[in-house]
Symmetry: D2
């Protein structure tokens, strides 16, 4: 911590602050500047309570944290990228991974048709919602258990891994029985009861960034899962909320390389939710591959205009196939860069 | 719904759109403007799926909703203010209500001392956290059951009603046993599993606005609780997240009169979380009374610099007492206005 | 400045950073923490270039500024409030000041009628736009010189001071001939050519906060004006842009006490632009007086529904009169608090 | 316009609203829904004043605009992309254009060295600031006229076109004498006096998006320039201001395809200001090419750690060269897509 005293603080005022810091068990370094005194405090453990206490003292101008408040997820803790293996594929590994499927599981035909289209176009993971978080209580809330069963069936018949959302700590065990990856939605990124329960879930987790969550808060939420016992966490940028309303959200695409500088966890981009508009999805997907995301997750639907949710941002199965073809040279470039950066290549 | 066609749409394109709307069961009115054709669609039921479908059609320029997507919480549904009775007091009634207490319940001494200070200064509701939502897994997470018991004891001995946070649908029953009002924190405002479970909770609910939630989304979340069977919901403005970082959050104080125009539910202001800084709390509390909030909720602590959480924004018990005294003339003006506005007065 | 090194930096890496800091003329204090080395650098002058240079060095984790980048406008530079005298009144003094008038000057009748209503209700300053910043090139752009002349006439006949906007450094001299206070609009808060030209303008300046400007940036813009020779600057909170669209802007009302903690310059609140909606203006004005703003500026119009701009947020002259009456007890309380806080009272 | 009446409006209330609309010269269509009456109003001309007036009427629930408020810049007005020719190159044409150079012109050596590096790596336009908008009055404000002369010299000796910022309508003529493209900075995007003066400038304009400006406002500002006589406008996404502070701004990269759907004007991406951090620039530049920006503008410097401004986000000349090489296959893919989309190819 660095504590900056008010201008013209007296000796006694400075000593009071120093004593307060020592009470928390930290060591003191006083620095006498031209204008004011600055105190550096060093030691171990979470500094939040001490910072809070200091900010209340009238003599203190401000107090700032130096160390990051997360540990296990940081690159300083672990340099090599976390590789998450599910069914045949590896997220965070040597291949770019495409995940796709409908917003909601609606029927057996719909999910089977979707799964086949994903698999045949080269996707590796099938998405589909069984429990749906909806802003309105009057909107379709998902097929729940029936949806989970259909998803697993579709996954088994195509060889795709399956990712689906879990909305309550109460449902973690149930969903983990059917799904290969547990998705935590943006609105639950700081549902701490849920995060804790994922620590014991025995399934990889994809944590979506909250609408107004900072990158540091996303890492703190991942730290919850890891600290409770589950190392297999991937992070997903899906757009944040800003003043711009022309798109559903604002895609903070730079979060991808920022996260890759800060953490060893894989990073996924979700162009469907980030834009909310089908016509914008292919361009943003190309950009996501070019910027180096480990995976992309897309909404597709056999008949988007009849989808029970998120139709406007879903690609038709045909458009998805076309996009996958268009992506090929970008994925080749992605692999060249991944290879060039990998420690083996050095 | 109002659907605006692209410029120079052909007759056939317009007919395709009209047919799509009729498929959803709505009636059509075509309006031929100087520049483009606009279609008005009327009917009953949630228009979201139809809107989504139309926005995908290439001939459509845009499609907008006319009716609000919530119903029970709207002022159009019910004109008179909802009055929520708990213990001796009424939120949304003829008296301004002050709620106060520590961020976290820490010990019997701390909560008893706090409760006595709140009661003797004229507060009606005691706040205190037993389950704490914390950004970091390494921060203090609350005394849980023990905290609930201490809270109830403090409430009983002082006659104050007790409000405390519940973080998971798993805990609703337990918390409802001990608390008079269930608080839903900002980060759980769209935890839909939790919202649904509150419908059956048999306790009034205070729903805090999410950090990046619009006023309409706050009303939609309240609609979840009401639609699942619980009419006693109060809404709380506690600051939103913006680009400004000098305060912990940005207090959208105008949300108070905006909500009072839109809904019959009582509205509470939380100056402690809105500012994050003790020195700013009294000024914002005065403003909250002046703008007409039904209640204010504050963080107080016998010894803020030793608080386990949120010390920097907690008032000392002495400062709270001073503030309550300073508020008196503002509360008198509040009552005069409330009386002047009430239907009885007319 | 405080420079935090990466974990496990070598001695040589630390020395390189120290040398770089010394090159900029600062003195070094090394602090060896449990986990990392932190360097404190002290000295005089603007640290921005040094900070920028350090942030680029790969060994550096982050580098933060300790001193505020502004000086003349800070409370540390000058403790007593700046009182700005114009015609009979004083902004920042012992009286709460109301400024009001139409968005745009439209005609002699309109501005004379407005001025008389403002004066007779107890307002002290007449507002009115002659040069109008409009988002669309097709909207009314103001009466320009003719508007200035009408404003002066209305000011002279009623004894009110006159405030009007200046949009270009080219027009400062002209506007200063006719107006008592020069208003800088939110969209020009960082029009640095304009700010510099105000230094020599010989008229007080009201600087409106930009839609996405931080409080610190507002102070920096004020510092421009003061550093170029003009001490009479007042600051105006008029709402910022956030994700919430139900009001025209989001009023950051807490900016008022925050600014009063940081600067000696008077602070004005603009409820009309902050809300964009007439029905919300009285409540927010009450809150503005209660929170301690030095002045409030309002839009009023003899016939808002025929106003050439901003009609939806303008009060009728009758509503303005009613509001002024309703404010009286709040203004009494304002004066009591001002008196209690003033050094004379101690 | 679509005007939605309050629930249970009386016949007379509806007629009053209709009459008000007719007063503005629009035609009326009444639509009687199950719950409420909606009025569609059609006609020509700017609807803003009418909308404002209607929103004030107590019977009106809300009133929304249907047509876009801009015209000349819209794709509906002109389908083919505007191609802006400067010196040998064409922005908005068949080639991807790279613009690069230092934040500020500092000396002849610095700008000449920069220009040669840009030209030899395949850049087409040299950037460099002579008039610098700086948040602090104490920061370096640019070499002004001397900077313009050095820029022109560097442009002439290398064959590069030159782009530089103009900050006041007073300086437009002067800057136009020396520069090939006039840049309008983010903070001046709504400096309407400046925008108007560009209409007569006889030089192409690059308009940067304001920190909190919507895409529609950016188009409205472009409309100012075009409506005042200058068709050669390109738009630049350079990051917007959000709650996320880990990067200098948040790059709204999706603005690129959104703008390309809405306007025929070319779109430029500025990864340097969008990120504020050198290490993130190459990844975002790749993404910018992949998403289909017409051009990218970058900050480069012979010695970034000694730059007088923006050093932390400037690439070294070596890093720029490496990046240009790395971009080649992405630019090839860009050309293939441009060719496939061009009307000639069909």
């Amino acid at each position: 911590m660095i504590i900056s005293m008010k201008l013209r603080s007296s000796k006694q005022e400075i000593e009071e602050v120093c004593q307060r810091i020592r009470d928390f068990g930290y060591k003191i370094h006083e620095i006498h500047g031209e204008e004011r005194v600055v105190i550096a405090a060093v030691g171990v453990g979470d500094v939040t309570p001490c910072l809070d206490a200091l900010e209340m003292m009238p003599q203190v101008d401000n107090a700032v944290r130096i160390s990051a408040p997360y540990k296990f997820v940081s690159k300083e803790f672990r340099k090599e990228k976390t590789r998450i293996r599910v069914k045949g594929c590896e997220i965070g590994g040597d291949d770019f991974i495409m995940m796709a499927g409908p917003c909601s599981v609606e029927s057996e035909t719909q999910i089977m048709e979707s799964a086949e289209a994903v698999a045949s176009a080269g996707g590796k993971v099938l998405r589909g919602g069984a429990f749906k978080p909806r802003t309105s209580p009057y909107d379709f809330q998902g097929l729940e258990l029936e949806g989970l069963k259909l998803l697993r069936k579709a996954g088994e018949s195509t060889g795709l891994a399956v990712i689906t959302e879990v909305m309550s700590d109460r449902d973690v065990e149930l969903v983990a029985e059917y799904a290969d990856i547990l998705q935590i939605g943006a609105r639950n990124m700081q549902n701490f009861a849920l995060l804790k329960s994922l620590g014991k879930a025995n399934r990889p987790v994809m944590l979506k960034r909250g609408l107004s969550s900072t990158i540091k808060e996303l890492l703190m939420s991942a730290e919850y899962v890891v600290a409770h016992g589950n190392n297999d966490v991937m992070l997903c940028e899906r757009g944040i909320r800003t003043f711009e309303t022309i798109t559903r959200n604002t895609c903070d695409i730079v979060a991808v390389p920022v996260l890759q500088e800060m953490t060893h966890l894989p990073v996924v981009l979700d162009p469907s939710h980030a834009t909310g508009k089908r016509s914008l999805v292919p361009a943003l997907t190309r950009a996501g591959v070019a910027i180096g995301a480990d995976a992309v997750i897309l909404e597709t639907h056999p008949c988007p205009e009849k989808a029970w949710s998120d139709g406007a941002q879903s690609l038709t199965l045909g458009a998805f196939k076309t996009l996958m073809k268009e992506l090929r040279p970008y994925i080749e470039l992605w692999k060249e860069r991944r290879y060039a950066e990998s420690p083996v290549a050095v």
